[in-house]
Amino acid sequence: MSASDAAARVPPGQHLTKGWPILHASPIPTFNEETWRFRCFGSVDEEVEWTWEQFRALPSAKLVADMHCVTGWTKLDNEWEGAFFREVAARATPKAETMHALIHAPYGYTANLPLQTLLDDGLFAWAHDVEPLPPEHGGPLRLVVPTLYAWKSVKWANGVQFLERDIRGYWEERGYHNRADPWREERYSWQESG
């Protein structure tokens, strides 16, 4: 890939990183395969809960995508493996009125996204570049939504709350943008009215 090809994939205000910075708002939770559960609840016909073994049995897929962190770095060509959000949603049967979802993680971390964005772009990843996803990067399971700033790609994801009306997540309540499109540089909540 040429330097100009790479530069064209870097959104405004971002710079390329060769490493993979580690950052998150909470301590790293401990993973126990026996007790781990993933729950779909809220605006659904019937709540669903999976064990780790059951979640890993969902149809798997690969996705190569760039990652853009609101702190300024962009990491190109991440190869993710996991289950598409649409596979999860197909089994959770959200009600027709469902328009949004709140992704949950330990320590009360959440991020809100439009349901359609999740259906189009969301992947729950358990591997990165052919290796199991390390705990510091969200293992055993994180959401990946490459079209949005990375705080929406919730680490240690353990549930989806389907919503008829939008509810802001952890950083969205703390002054960051509700949509978070890096190509529009949607970093802060005060940009939302513009």
Partner: protein
Amino acid sequence: MAGDESGATTPQDVWHMVERADEFLKYAQNRDPAKAYAQARATLRKAMEEADRLEDRAAAESISAQISRRLDDLDRLEAAL
């Protein structure tokens, strides 16, 4: 701090301090969490002082609420250490 043309602190200046505190928090687990939380708290306290001086009172109240929320977050994180 950049300030406006008159040199006065702007809401954006204060928000950048809040962002700096957020970065201490986000990178805390790579370093010494207790030290990072202390740096975040000190930055937020300084940001609160600057927010109190803002002429734009609506912006000051909004940013102060965000700072208070983060100070509460730090209380919880430090209690969990």
